[in-house]
Amino acid sequence: MTSTLPPPERAGLARARISARTLRTDRWWVAPLLTTLGLTAFLVYGLVRALQQDHYWAADHGYLTPFYSPCIAAQCAPEAAHFGRLPFEFPWWLPYAAISLPFLLLFRFTCYYYRKAYYRSIWQAPTACAVREPHKRYTGESRFPMIGQNLHRYFFYIALVISVVNTYDAVLALFHGEQGGFGIGLGNLVLLGNVVLLWCYTLSCHSCRHVFGGRVNSFGRSPVRYWLWTQITRLNTRHMTFAWITLATLVITDLYVALVASGTVSDPRIFN
């Protein structure tokens, strides 16, 4: 004890004892349920595809799925490996894009939006607002391992680089026309759309907002950073939307490439 202050709350008083977990009358459990289903579906699909080690490269049109980018295993199709290959073959349990996938996963795992999503749905801390959580103790992100969430910004830096790689993939795919040279098919639009949305998600990140302007105290004296902060803030208010949209576009893009690569569908051409 350092002082003789009265206790913060008057002795003898207690909280209202209300046994119900919540008195909410709305369907508060719907949102966490949908979140759980959505995240699980993506993870299952992603795991299956990452381990499939096939149908990732539509050679005719130069479409490389983002799940295999950059393709660095020795088994990779040589034209698909835009950044070279490692001299050894990957075992079945190691995805060809082992250099990027873990970081992308960590970027999303430590993302301020996804944190909210899975803390609420999977971890149930809390399941919904004003609904009692099932845990006996709670320390949040104050100690190991969850204190690691503070590393989000470093995964953001890496995600920036990977976004460049994905963009490079999508741009290269534009030069696989039927007659050689520049050409556009439906797949190109899918790849480009995916890349644009990935940029939106990556740049709307809260760490990005901080790094490019949020950390400045006097906006008046840093007009450029203020402008950047304003623009990122506009994106940032839609961070959740982008988080879900990009999960969907990643799956769509990958599925499309897989279908074309396996010859199940053919890529409709728009130009050349």
Partner: protein, 637 residues
């Protein structure tokens, strides 16, 4: 019944609104052990309802502004009934007080060059109101609250305990001031709302900062706390109240739905371009510019609209007349059948500026109408009507120190009288409470210096008697419901001593009050002592009655119309009455009035007005010699 705790302080401040906090901060800065007593939680004061801003002649937006111009506007607004010394101190010191707030962390809206921005307001010649959107009062309270915390932190570091020198007693009501045998202040008696436990504060100096009396009226913008406690405490301690007949009805309160009737619609709506229209779509204010203001207000819509962008070459729109004029005009429109469906008039910003700008300039108004009335003010007009807002009258105090006529008693803010004359200008209350809050803190400290360590002692018998009185309503087995009595009181005041007054009605009001007094004396509160609102109201009723009587009696006596006092039977302003201040005091349990002369304005201040204007207010003998005044006024213009 519960036991009584005792506390010893140098200065006890009753009220934790802007004036109370500023007084307490100053008393503590003067090295005095200070208690702040608040009926509500710390930081919830009625000051948060002030929206528009704090008037101070900083000259940030228009450099022609000066304290003299602010003084002149204040006097004009108050129809020359203001205490000239108070108005002078206020105009001179307001800028310092605002800058000091900024230094304590307040975040006012800014000009392009990074200084405090100022906005236009009714009755102010230049943009003068330092503001934060439309929630300036909240910013002021929060800043003062955080300043209190800062001082407590300093005390904790130095003396080992944050409450060593400055302590807030939240949710505590004072029911009586204690005096010693010679009539000097010796402390205060009250109860803790949470527990019903009685408390005695022994203190040689008490600062009243309890705000106003609005809860005596039915339609009011005031919260439940505004039961005239300070006014009544002062009366019962032997002090006098002046100008009680002047009650300001804010022209724009919400009128629909019934549950929010009276809630304030800030004057900034008009300051930022909002216009008033009647059911025929007419901007009716052009027909209500009184002669005394004829020269300063626009006569056509074009001229009025031009003023917002180019105030130098246009006269002001009549929507920005002082509040009493606008309130009367609205009242008249409604009476003559040109009102809106729910008995108000239309206040419209939606056709005056783009939705985005409305959202930026008036966010809390947008929020308020959306949430409470389901009206989108960016898409359609609001319905507004007059609501009881502010009492100009209050404890008669010395301008420089805030000292009342009872030694050891001080008053600041709305509970003090004189500063605003017969009508307060919008924006002058926030600066008033800063300026005079501080002066009261200093005044109390100087008074303690004068006592040189002597401490007036309250009589022990008093404390016992007071405890009995306070507990009485809980012990009665029969008696009326306090809520019912309160409603009747409000209805009486609203109907009979409201915005337009008539002699016979006020006589009737006094009779009704007399009967109510007997019923209140035997009011019964059910339940126990812990946080019992029925009991609290039963105790507050006594204060509301005393204040209501003072208002009704003064209003009946003053046979003229001026500012916040409009007599149907005496519609004109009388220069003779201007010289007379009505002071209420308690004789037994009845309110009596004394007449005293209003202080004359110093010649240098009088010279700020031209003779023609003065002649509308002053008697012939008070007017300055013809030539001298004329040239002075020419230079001024």
């Amino acid at each position: 019944m519960s036991e009584t705790t005792r506390h010893n302080y140098d200065v006890v401040v009753i009220g934790a609104g802007g004036a109370g906090l500023r007084a307490a901060i100053e008393a503590r800065q003067q090295g005095r052990k200070t208690a702040i007593i608040s009926k509500s939680l710390f930081g919830k004061a009625h000051t948060v309802m002030a929206e528009g801003g704090a008037a101070a002649a900083l000259g940030n937006v228009n450099s022609s502004d000066s304290w003299q111009v602010h003084f002149r506007d204040t006097i004009r607004g108050g129809k020359f009934m203001n205490d000239p010394r108070m108005a002078e101190l206020h105009a001179k010191e307001a800028p310092e007080r605002i800058l000091e707030l900024e230094h304590w962390g307040a975040l006012f809206d800014r000009t392009r060059d990074g200084r405090i921005s100022q906005r236009n307001f009714g009755g102010h010649e230049y943009p003068r109101l330092a503001h934060v959107g439309d929630r300036t009062g909240l910013e002021l309270i929060r800043t003062l609250q955080q300043r209190v915390v800062q001082l407590q932190q300093a005390d904790a570091a130095e003396l080992g305990h944050p409450e060593a020198m400055l302590r807030v007693f939240a949710e505590t009501t004072v029911t009586e001031l204690l005096t010693d045998a010679s009539g000097r202040i010796a402390g205060a008696f009250g109860y803790v709302r949470e527990t019903g436990e009685f408390v005695v504060f022994e203190a040689p100096a008490v600062v009243l900062a309890t705000g106003g009396i609005g809860k005596s009226f039915k339609v009011t913008s005031n919260s439940w706390e505004y039961t005239g406690d300070g006014h009544a405490l002062a009366l019962r301690a032997g002090a006098t109240l002046i100008n009680m007949e002047f009650v300001q009805f804010h022209p724009t309160g919400m009128v629909w739905p019934p549950s929010v009737k009276g809630i304030l619609v800030t004057e900034s709506v008009r300051g930022d371009g909002g216009v008033l229209r009647n059911s025929e779509g007419e901007r009716f204010m052009f027909g209500y510019v009184p002669d005394v203001f004829r020269n300063q207000y626009a006569e056509t819509e074009e001229e009025a609209d031009g003023w917002y962008a180019d105030p130098a070459n246009h006269r002001r729109p009549p929507e920005l007349l002082p509040r009493d004029e606008v309130a009367r005009a609205i009242n008249n429109e409604v009476k003559e059948g040109r009102g809106s469906p729910h008995g108000g008039v239309f206040l419209d910003v939606s056709t005056r500026m783009p939705a985005e700008e409305i959202m930026r300039r008036l966010p809390s108004m947008h929020h308020q109408f959306k949430e409470l009335a389901d009206v989108d003010i960016t898409a359609g007009p609001m319905e507004v009507g007059p609501t009881c807002h502010y009492v100009m009258g209050g404890v008669e105090v010395d301008a420089d120190t805030g000292a009342a006529r009872v030694p050891g008693l001080f008053a600041a803010g709305e509970v003090a009288g004189g500063m605003h004359g017969s009508n307060r200008l919008g924006g002058n209350s926030l600066s008033d409470l800063l300026v005079f809050g501080r002066r009261c803190g200093i005044g109390a400290a100087r008074y303690l210096d004068g006592l040189a360590g002597e401490r007036p002692a309250p009589a022990a018998a008093d404390v016992e008697r007071l405890a009995e009185e306070v507990a009485a309503p809980l012990r009665r087995d029969t008696g009326e419901n306090p809520y019912q009595l309160h409603q009747e009181l409000q209805q009486t005041m609203n109907d009979l001593v409201g915005i337009i007054r008539r002699g016979p009605e006020m006589e009737q009001a006094l009779e009704s009050l007399e009967k109510l007094r007997e019923r209140v004396a035997s009011v019964r509160a059910e339940g126990g002592t812990a946080y019992n609102p029925g009991w609290h109201l039963a105790l507050d009723l006594r204060n509301m009655l005393a204040v209501s009587e003072a208002i009704a009696r003064a209003a009946l006596t003053r046979e003229e119309s001026r500012g916040g006092h409009t007599r149907d039977d005496f519609p004109a302003m009388s220069p003779q009455w201007r010289r007379t201040v009505l002071a209420a005091r308690l004789a037994g349990d009845r309110v009596e009035l004394e007449r005293r002369p209003l202080d004359a304005m110093r010649p240098d201040l009088l010279a700020l007005f031209d003779r023609e204007e003065l002649s509308k207010y002053l008697t012939e003998e008070e007017l300055p010699p013809a030539e001298g005044a004329d040239t002075a006024s020419k230079e001024e213009k």
